[in-house]
Amino acid sequence: MEVSGNQDQENRNIAVNNRNNGLHQQWDIVYVDEWKGEPKKGEMNEEYGMIVEKDFHVVSQMKEHRYLDLINNRNFVIKTPNGRNTQTWYFHQQSLTIRTRYNNQSWDIKSAGRTNQMQIWSTNSGWFQIFRYQGEKFVNIQNRKVLDVSGGKDVEG
């Protein structure tokens, strides 16, 4: 039994096929009387390392401790704390994405994950929008790349 076409999408067909041990052929049986449900607002999502819908800033650990921010309200940069909501983020349980308080769009690797640039974009929960917070890094769930300040340069914008 497999997820057709290995596409982790809503309403995706389920089929049978020859076994290949892909993740799309792997399933957990969870008995309903043991199902814990999903974390609610204010609860920790242990798997993703963030509290559901609790606001946070992303603070670079480089010397100036700049905050993750947006330029042109779209692209990721680091900036000195300025109180704008483009510097405030939250974890959205339903989509498993990190969203901005500016307009509720989600972190997104540009071009559906084919580049290294980060932006905010309408939520679609593609793999290129889903990150875990692990060991003081934000790690993409599929390509395992981490959020990185380009060139390691601790400069404004």
């Binding site: 982790d8 999408q9 809503e10 389920i14 089929a15 799309h24 792997q26 309903v32 449900g37």
Partner: protein
Amino acid sequence: MDKQTKEATEGINEEFGLHINRPFYMRSRLPMKRIAECVGANNVVLKRWRNNVRAQQWYFDGVSKTIKNNYWKSHSLDIQGNGASNNLRCTTTNSRWW
């Protein structure tokens, strides 16, 4: 005269690896961890978990030896076209190999 043994109505069926008549979710291990849901007593598709939606719940029926849907209880997992295709459906129980 020999008596026919009754089919178990609870406990685990060791051969099939499932508890009898105990509803469960089939949760994909893909990142979103979506659930297999029977839609319209027909297709089986992947969907986000929703509270108390019985079309997302399944159980092993010890009598028919099939995996039945907990909303359409007369329907079981079924390979479409009498097993001739790859598509999985949720259709009236017939206990054939597919």
